[in-house]
């Protein structure tokens, strides 16, 4: 318990602080509603325009719609940008203080980054669930709504997969943070990874809807575990052994990225220069 104390404290402190940014949460929710609405309508148009292709689709329109709302709700769980706190600390040299704490610097940044993403996702997801899951059916638009998982097994798989998605996304966030620490700026890296993540996490288009020949590659790449895998588990599109494979891939990539991040961090910290004053 005492060993975990610094990390638990750092997590809860950041989490509680970030939860207080209400305006940002509401603004984020509004944007994600807008995009979610547009995407849902586009999918509906596609499914209606090509009934033959729709019948052969690996996902039904209802699944795609639920997937889309969930993807919008959990957008903040994808590591779009470096942790702004780390970027600022690197810029100002306050990173020196992180090295003065009697804790593992990688773990400290990891829990703080995880808290940052979780605290941003939580209010947005709650609002989205309220809006797309409750309000839409109530006003008679249940065809367009976020639906509950089809089975208990799907719900359970999602409940396991979601924390894994956070762990994996945080492990990737750490890679971004370490690149920022090495290059001293977060601008280039943020732009570079944004487009990569939006496509390969399934946020732009559910990965199952890409051509068949690309399916294996799309499933085993690391970004699938940050959003696509938990969402496919939720809508019941991955079941049985496929569900286990999805969870296994999440675990594999989390462990692999943490190991990679630790090696990279040790190298960066060895040649760290804190200049001036």
């Amino acid at each position: 318990m005492d060993a975990a104390r610094p990390y638990l404290a750092a997590f809860s402190s950041r989490f509680l602080l970030m939860l207080q940014y209400r305006a940002a949460a509401i603004a984020g929710f509004a944007t994600q509603c807008w995009w979610g609405g547009i995407k849902v309508m586009i999918y509906a148009a596609f499914f209606a325009a090509a009934p033959a292709a729709a019948a052969a689709s690996p996902m039904t329109l209802a699944q795609v719609i639920t997937y889309t709302w969930l993807a919008q709700a959990l957008l903040a769980l994808t590591p779009w940008n470096a942790d702004p706190e780390v970027a600022l600390a690197v810029r100002t040299g306050a990173v020196a203080y992180d090295r003065l704490r009697p804790v593992d610097t990688y773990s400290l940044w990891y829990v703080r980054g995880g808290a940052w993403m979780a605290s941003r996702a939580l209010p947005r997801a709650a609002l989205m669930l309220l809006g797309a899951g409750l309000v839409l059916p109530l006003i008679g638009l249940s065809d367009w709504a976020w639906k509950p998982p089809p089975s208990f097994a799907a719900a359970a798989a999602f409940a396991i997969s979601l924390p894994l998605a956070l762990a994996l996304a945080t492990a990737f966030l750490m890679i971004v943070n370490i690149i920022v620490a090495a290059t001293l700026t977060d601008r280039g890296i943020n732009v570079l990874f944004n487009s990569l993540i939006i496509v390969f996490s399934g946020n732009l288009l559910p990965l199952a809807l890409y051509p068949d020949w690309a399916q294996t590659a799309l499933l085993i790449q690391p970004f699938a575990g940050m959003m696509d895998i938990p969402l496919r588990l939720y809508v019941g599109q991955l079941q049985g052994s496929e569900a286990l494979l999805g969870l296994g891939l999440q675990v594999f990539w989390t462990v692999a990225l943490i190991l990679l991040g630790r090696v990279a961090m040790a190298r960066v910290m060895r040649r760290l220069d804190v200049q001036g004053g």
Partner: protein, 330 residues
């Protein structure tokens, strides 16, 4: 064995350079030029437990680099550093749990957190026993007069309040050694006095070893038993403060107001430092030219309104010391 042992410490930085202007910027895209800056070269000193050492030197002399190496943030290029028998960089976690560090130019408290929550978080990070933490925190809050600002976010504190909070933050885990890098920079007089008082008290009452860098010579005068002067990455002087003062303060000043335009005073061993209307400032070594002799000679030859005897400002002395050793700002 001393608590802090530093031998032949050397550290260089690589600094990127480019020619000025558009052409320079374009050239920089193709070919990066780097220059190596020697921040430290063979710095050696040692410190016993309970000492209070002042570390002075011009900007860029290597003071902060030394502190960063001693606190385990930077790895030296060569040389030996042992603090409490540990090598700071390689044994970082064990090392940093026993030291407290304040960088006057950076903040270690969380900008958006109230001061008290920042303290609580640090106590968790250092795994301080909660009863000890509360007792120690209350004492520090009292000593540094922090009670009125405990619930304010750090970003709303004045510089003086923030620095006092920073010092408390560095002491919550009761370190044996305190490194203070310009803790009084930019502070008003009451805040400076509070900082000095708490540092002196910790050193006296708890036996905390203190290593302090500053540009404010009054900090040194008020606190340090021993002073190291560093310039161009080298130790220029290492002596008790009184010795340093006697060596470089061996000068007396005489400010004389004359009844008429200030005359040219030519006395052996006496120099004119400045001339302002009817006032002259003279400098001499009292060991070789006794003060009464100078006064008598001037009073006999000129009509004098007032005479004031003084010593050069300590800043002036230190500046001359730097100049003497060619240790101007690097």
């Amino acid at each position: 064995m001393p608590q802090i042992l530093v031998e032949d410490l050397a550290k260089t930085y690589r600094v990127a350079e480019r020619d000025p202007g558009l052409l320079g910027a374009v050239k920089g895209l193709v070919h990066r030029r780097h220059r190596t800056v020697e921040a430290l070269r063979n710095v050696s000193f040692s410190l016993e437990a309970g000492e209070l050492l002042g570390f002075i030197g011009p900007n860029g002399a290597g003071k902060s680099t030394t502190i960063k190496i001693l606190s385990g943030i930077l790895r030296p290029d060569s040389g030996t550093v042992l603090v409490n028998g540990r090598v700071p960089f390689t044994d970082r976690i064990a090392h940093v749990s026993r030291i407290g560090v304040v960088f006057g130019q950076r903040t270690q408290l969380w900008w958006d957190l109230p001061v008290i929550e920042g303290f609580d978080l640090l106590a968790d990070i250092y795994r301080v026993d909660s009863a000890r933490y509360r007792a120690n925190r209350d004492e520090l809050v009292d000593l540094l007069r922090l009670a009125p600002v405990l619930d304010q976010p750090v970003r709303q504190l004045s510089l003086g309040q923030r620095m006092r909070a920073e010092i408390a933050a560095a002491l919550l885990h009761e370190p044996d050694i305190l490194f203070l890098d310009e803790p009084t920079i930019g502070l008003d007089a009451p805040s400076k006095l509070a900082v000095r008082e708490v540092v002196a008290r910790l050193n006296r009452e708890r036996g905390v070893t203190v290593l302090l860098t500053t540009h404010d010579m009054h900090d040194i005068e008020a606190l340090a038993q021993r002073v190291i002067v560093i310039g161009h990455g080298q130790v220029l002087a290492d002596s008790p403060f009184e010795t340093l003062r006697a060596n470089v303060l061996a000068e007396r000043r005489l400010i004389v107001d004359f009844a008429h335009e200030a005359p040219d005073v030519t006395l052996p061993g006496v120099e004119i430092r400045s001339r302002r209307g009817q006032t002259l400032e003279l400098a001499f070594d009292p060991a070789r030219t006794p003060t009464p002799t100078v006064i008598a000679a001037i009073a006999a030859a000129h009509e004098v309104v007032d005479i004031h005897v003084g010593e050069p400002a300590i800043e002036e002395v230190i500046a001359r010391f730097y100049a003497l050793h060619g240790a101007g700002e690097a």
